[in-house]
Amino acid sequence: MSDERADGRGSTRAGFAVLLVAIKREPWIFTLSTLGSVLFGALTVADAWVLGWSTDHVVLPAFKTGEVGTGSLVAILALFLGVAILRAVGIVARRLGAGIMQYRMQASTRRAVTRQYLSLPMAWHQRHPTGELLSNANSDVEAAWGPIAPLPMAVGTVAMMVIAVAQMLFADLVLAVVGLLVFPAVIAVNVTYQHLAQGWMTRAQQLRAEVSEIAHESFDGAMVVKTLGREPEETARFAAKAEELRDVNIRVGRIRAAFDPALAALPGLGVLFVLAVGVSRVMSGATDAGDVVTVAYLLTIVSFPIRSIGWLLGEFPRSVVGYRRVSAVLAATGDMPYGDRSAVRGADGARLDVEALGYRYVPDQPLIEDLSFSVDPGRTVALVGATASGKSTITTLLTRLVDPDRGRVAVDGVDLRELAAGELASTVSIVPQTAFLFDDTVRGNITLGVDVTDADVWAALRTAQADGFVAALPHGLDTQLGERGTSLSGGQRQRISLARALVRRPRLLILDDATSAVDPEVEARILAGLREAGAGSTLVVVAYRKATIGLADEVLHLEGGRIVDRGTHAELLSRSPSYARLVNAYEQEEVTT
């Protein structure tokens, strides 16, 4: 907390720097909204002038002489109404301009941030929690450009104050100087407020994010929470943070509660003081009543907009925090550079070469060590190994979700790192262990924008044994799937995910235990379909079941991220006891039962 407070002074400067970025990006709309604000300010002052003018030239003479010309009355109406309408134009220009500027900055920053999400490698994603990335793109962006809303008003206020001060000086020098004493007082109140509120406001932002993270995670794991009856503990966890946020908000509120009336009272006190001095000056004949009214009125009118500068400065701490968090995402490196080579096209299978591959996950995680194997076009290789032996890691290397530390992966002799963006995906498709579905229709989830006919989609669904349940969905291919496909069962999601790979007719297809949630009968039909439809494709499968392994021309037996043996299923069964134990577990169980 103390650090954040110490940071407070710098944040005013940093806040202006953030605003400068926005002004440079949107100079025209900023100018427009500022002009609107200046217009509004000038006309608010003009209002006072119109009142003063009317008092001196129409009202007082009229009461004195007992008569008034129609022209004077029309002048009053025209002046007041003209000023009011122009002021309305100013308001619209200021508010709409500020809105346009703010939303444009938000949109462009969000586009930039999401482009980063799409280009940064998996390793970066693994280090950053979902909740954090979502709040970077949402609330941090909002916070960063928050001060744009009061900006034109504040700039206009400065202009208005200049005009008002000039008017006051013009009306009566001494009274003006008396009235201007309000300004240093306002600044002092503001500085005190900033100093007191900043730390707590930053803390409140943090707590908001934490409250949101707990809610996100808890709802995500609702099944576990419910089945173990942990609602009271989860509620307590949530309540603890929510109550901390409440307490900080109340503290911020108390500071804010003192700030607003203090700022509001200052001009009032100024007016009273001006009146007292004004009366003595009228008595000494130094000024007339109209001037006293003008100065008093100007002071009243300026008092409200002065607060807008306070609002602007009040937004700064949040803005700076948000901008820094967004900037950290935008500055993140570790982008995977693409080469410029294209992949081989065609209907035949791809050749896969894995040479002396070495990969260290995050420091503590299992390693892939000195892994070498090749798969000839059209052949099938099975990766078999115990839970957590590195099989899934290998599939992420084959699809270049991560780059190896040593060695290389090559498709058709081309190192994956030399391929241009998008080229690898035109050749290789992976079906991951846990299916991810987009918030889109069934068709959209399968084509992902690739131009294929519905007949092709249905063919892929048939091979994946998904045509039956998709046909039974309320709108068939046009059925909208929920977020992460929660309305489908695990097995159905896997099959949609499989169809997504199949419809691309990949030259290399990688299945990472992709049918684990499917029952054996359906799985058998899928495998049969793959044998027909996938004819020609090169296939790498991660599998436990013998029926799947049985498809393979070669089996790589993995232990601890290394290949410990390779050969056909029969060869491995006969010579490797540990392999036999692994894949024959079900039968051995029967023998022992």
Partner: protein, 595 residues
Amino acid sequence: MSTTMDSGEEIGALDTIRRGVHFSPELKEGIWGTLALAVVASVGQVIVPIAVQQTLDRGLARSGGPDLSFTVWMGVVAAAALLLTSWASYAMTARLFSTSERGLATLRIKAFRHVHDLPLLTQNTERRGALVSRVTSDVDQVSQFLVFGGLLFVVSVGQVLIATIVMLFYSWQLALVVWVCFAPLFLSLRFFQRKLSEAYGTVRRQVGIMLSAISEPVVGAAVVRSYAVEARTQARIDEAIATHQSASTRAQGLTAFSFSLGGVSAGLANAGVLIVGIWLGFAGNISAGEVLAFAFLVTLFVGPVQMGTQILTDAQNAIAGWRRVIGILETPADLVDPGPDGQVLPRGPIDVRFDDVEFAYPGGPPVLRDVTLEIDAGRRVAIVGETGSGKSTFAKLLTRLMDPSRGAVLLDGVDVREIGEASLRRSVVLVPQEGFLFDDTLRANVRYGKLDATDAEILGSADELGLTDWVAGLPRGLDTLVGQRGESLSAGERQLVALLRAHLADPDLLVLDEATSAVDPQLEMRIGRALERLMSGRTSVTIAHRLSTAEAADEVVVVDQGRIVQRGHHSALAAEAGSVYSGLHASWVSQQGKP
């Protein structure tokens, strides 16, 4: 059972506030004191103009020349009054912050708790992001309204009334002029509020859609990358961002326009007051000072009117947020905890009975029907059937994640609907297929099954399940961080954690739903043997597509198209030629590469 969340959209604004106060009784605390302070505070705004008028009339324009001592005296009194009312303003706002924040924390926590009581069905239909926003940003918006809106609106209305009364006191004719000038604004208010409500409603929906689009490359990073659909994903995001941007801009334009109308009315009123004032002056009804004071009074009138319209505008956002939170709380929890009347299951193996149970999703055909079944305490039963046969529904009914549409599920002879939630969850544990892990250590995740479990107990459970080597092989043992949703571990390892949890929970009825589908066969068999030890002395129901489990069970229940079609021991069922089970078994055997 409801299919969708109550969005609360049909609730009116005043009704929303009424119901909101019902859920957050703190909001009413000390309301009269706060209101009294608000009245005192708003008097502060009248003090200066009155002092100005008094000074002009009696200090400045006095017939015998300006009166300095009166002016100074007037100033001192007004300044003192101003300080007092400023203090009242501080006290009012501080109290408002306190009651609002306390009320909203209560609302937030109630809503959070209630979300967990909503049927899983509802949780699946609604997007999680929207659920999260209902307990976060929606609530935050209400806060702004309650502190700077709700009471201030009441105060603004009060100020308008006070200003009107003061104006009437000076000159009823001029007061009428002011009201006539503002009439068009007041009349158009309702129209603009409806437009604004629509506009902000659209913005709110678009925020949800945009967040959902942005979450895709975050949650689905691997798929987006491996399918090279970056451009398509970005296009979808860009579209959502653009739609949100234009909706926001539209709402802002509407706000700006409706707000600017107040100023035009004010200009009209000012001119009207002076013109009519002069005319009244000719008739001898009013003095010059009174006309000028009236001009100040108009600003007194305009200020709160503008404030009021501004609050109404902002309120559209807040009321929409409040509605959404209230909508959550008013969505009935399908699974009602009988509360203190709830029965407590005795410890020891549980006897299960399904009594003519039928289940259908709303508007859908029954997915399970005519299920009558008795599982004696301590038996191990396997449920088998094809995907979509209804076996997972069976597990959900058994563990009361859903209630049957007809019939009853009884545990130890008691309808599950009458068993206290705490007792039910203590005695019955479901291990689902996808074990969700919290972003914490392995230890914290395992302890989810037994909150006070010691390391020794955890390691003891791991030992009994044959997982000691696995735990020891992890880089930091029990201190290993599992990552978001447990994604630093493999799918198989996540299932192991779920099993450890269940073991520590020590249930009397254990329900396993494909709980080991992602681990390797050797480990699965090892765990299977360990689970058998775990199952002894308990009732267990296992849903499995690997028939090795069925082979080991005391009894196999075969489900097909929502009905129980076969029951009995594995060997007997497999022998029934042409039966569903023999078909399943045949394909299982062929998959295992057996002859």
